[in-house]
Amino acid sequence: MSQAEVQETLAKQLALVIDLNVCVGCHACVTSCKEWNTSGAAGPLADLNAYDEQPTGTFFNRVQTFEADSFPNTQTIHFPKSCLHCEDPPCVPVCPTGASYKRKSDGIVLVDYDKCIGCKYCSWACPYGAREFDEERKVMTKCTLCVDRIYDESLAPHDRKPACVKACPTGARLFGDVKDPDSDVSKAIRERGGYQLMPEWETQPSNHYLPRKITTSACGRSQDEFRLGDFLRTKSVPSATAEEGTR
C-alpha cells in the first residue's frame, strides 16, 4: 500500500557495480567519498572525537571485510557498502516530511537536508544500514552517487563519475545506467552474474555486486594436491654448467 507511489519503473537508473574479484580493501573509496562530500555545498560531514579514543563520524561508504569458507580454503573478501539506490526503496515512503525521495530522472535516492526533521525513521526502514544520521547537522545523510559531481559540466566528461569510482586503484567500481542494456554496468551484471544484496526483502537494489570467482592454480591442481616435486618436474631445469656460468 505504502509502496504504491514508487512502483513505476524508471527509464534511467544510475548505480554502482562493485567487482569483489578486484577490491583489495584499501579504503580509497571511503576516504575519497568522505573528502568529496564533506567539501560540498551541503556542509561538512560530522567528525566527532576525531583525535580521541572513540573517533566517529558520518560516512556514506564503508569497506568491510568478510571471511568465507574454512581453512585451507578460506577466502578474504573486501566488501564496499553504500546506499544501493533501490528501485523500491523502503526508506522513502516512510519519511513523514517528504525529505527522502527517489529522483524520477535518474533513480538516485536523496535526502533534502532542509526538510529533514531528524526523526531517523528512514534509517530504521533500510535493511542495509545505508543511512547515517549526522550528529552535528542533526539530519539524515546518505550516498548521493555524487549528484553534485556527475552532472558538473565544468568537469571533463571522464571525471563526471562518483568520487569513489574515480579513486578506486583497481577499477573495482563501475558506474552507469543499469536500465541501459548496452551500458558497461549492464553488460557486467549480465555477463558476470551480478547480484543484489538481501533479495529476500524485494527492495530491488540498483547497485549490484560481481561475485568472487575462485581462480584455479596455474598448474591445474587444487591446493591440497600440490606437491613441490611434481611442480618442479614440470619446469625445465637449467643445466648445471649454465648455473655455474652465472656465478
Binding site: 505504502s2 571471511e67 523502503p90 517528504g98 529533514c116 526533521i117 542495509y128 544500514g129 547515517e132
Partner: protein, 312 residues
C-alpha cells in the same frame, strides 16, 4: 534496536491517556460514568495533560523540532505522518471534551458525539503508532498484527488502571469499581496477547543471513572487520547495548510489573471492595510498561546489524 527514552515515554504515557479517554467514553455511553461532572472533567484534564506530556516527549526524538510541522505532509504513504496528524486531533478532542465537562454542557446534542470521537481518535492513534513498527517488514519481531493489537491492549489496560486510580481519588466508588473490574479483564487479556508476541518472537528465524547480506555463497561467512573502529550511527542506533542480564531482567520486570502485580493488587481491591487499590497499581504498572517498551525495542533485531558484527 536502541530503545529511545523519548519514544518510550511518548508511547506509554499517550497510551494510558488514550485508554483513559476510551474508558470515560465507554462509561458515558453505557451509563456508568462518574456521578459528578467535575470528576469527568478532572479525569479528562488529566488525560489531556498526559497527552501534552507525551507530545513534548516526542519532540525530544527529533533532530530539528522546529521543522516538526513538515511531518504532517506525507500522510499518503507514512504511518508516522498519519500519527503526527492524529495525535493533535486526538488532543483537541480530549481537551474539547474536558472543556465541555468543565462547563457542564455534556448533555448538549453536540457533546453527545464527543465520546464517540474520543473512541475513534484513540483507536486511530493506536493504529498509527503500532503500524509505524509493524509496517517495517524486515524488522521481523515487529512486522505482525500483534504489534498493533498490543499497543491497543496495553493502552486500554493502563487506561483502565488509571481510571480506577482517578475514580478512587475522586470518590467515585461505583465508577472505580467498574473500571477496576474492567482493568482485571483487559490486563489479563493484554498479558495473553503480549505473551503471544513473545512466543512468536522466540520462534522467529531471521530471514537475512550473512550470506544473503553479502551474496557470498559459502557455508561459513563471518565478518572480520566492519570498516571502522570507533563505532558509527549504525552501531549506536540499532543495538540496545545492554548486557544479557539486563535484557533478561527487563523482560521479567515487565511481565511482573505490567501484568502480574497490578492484576493481583486489583484483584485484592475488587474482592475487598477497595478500588483505591488502583492508586497502588497505577505507578507500578507504569514502570512495568516503561520496561515493556524498552524490551519491545531491544528485542527487535535489525538486519543491518549483520553488517556490524566485528571491530578490527
Amino acid at each position: 534496536m536502541k530503545p529511545a527514552f523519548s519514544i518510550i515515554l511518548f508511547t506509554t504515557v499517550a497510551g494510558a491517556a488514550q485508554g483513559l479517554a476510551c474508558v470515560l467514553a465507554v462509561a458515558s455511553l453505557a451509563g456508568f460514568a462518574p456521578q459528578q461532572a467535575s470528576s469527568i472533567a478532572m479525569m479528562l484534564w488529566v488525560a489531556t495533560a498526559m497527552l501534552l506530556v507525551s507530545l513534548v516527549a516526542s519532540f525530544f526524538h527529533l533532530g530539528h523540532p522546529m521543522r516538526a510541522w513538515r511531518a504532517a505532509l506525507m500522510w499518503r504513504t507514512s504511518w508516522m505522518s498519519r500519527e503526527v496528524i492524529v495525535l493533535p486531533a486526538f488532543i483537541a478532542i480530549t481537551a474539547g471534551w474536558a472543556v465541555a465537562a468543565s462547563l457542564g454542557v455534556l448533555d448538549a446534542g453536540w457533546a453527545q458525539l464527543l465520546p464517540w470521537a474520543a473512541i475513534v481518535g484513540a483507536l486511530l492513534l493506536w493504529l498509527c503508532t503500532g503500524m509505524i513498527y509493524a509496517c517495517l517488514r524486515f524488522v521481523q519481531e515487529w512486522a505482525h498484527p500483534l504489534t498493533v493489537i498490543n499497543y491497543v491492549m496495553l493502552g486500554l489496560s493502563s487506561g483502565l488502571v488509571t481510571a480506577t486510580a482517578l475514580g478512587a481519588l475522586a470518590g467515585e466508588t461505583a465508577f472505580a469499581s467498574h473500571a477496576g473490574a474492567g482493568a482485571i479483564i483487559i490486563t489479563a487479556l493484554a498479558w495473553f496477547t503480549r505473551g503471544l508476541s513473545l512466543r512468536r518472537n522466540a520462534r522467529l528465524r531471521p530471514k537475512s543471513t550473512t550470506q544473503s547480506a553479502t551474496g557470498i555463497q559459502a557455508a561459513r561467512v563471518v565478518q572480520k572487520s566492519m570498516g571502522m573502529t570507533g563505532g558509527s550511527f549504525n552501531t549506536r542506533e540499532f543495538f540496545h547495548g545492554a548486557s544479557q542480564r539486563v535484557y533478561r531482567n527487563a523482560k521479567r520486570i515487565f511481565l511482573m510489573l505490567a501484568f502480574a502485580v497490578p492484576l493481583s493488587i486489583l484483584a485484592v481491591g475488587f474482592l475487598t471492595g477497595a478500588p483505591a487499590a488502583g492508586l497502588l497499581a497505577f505507578p507500578l504498572q507504569l514502570l512495568g510498561l516503561v520496561a515493556e517498551r524498552w524490551f519491545f525495542f531491544a528485542q527487535a533485531r535489525h538486519p543491518q546489524n549483520i553488517y556490524y558484527q566485528m571491530v578490527s
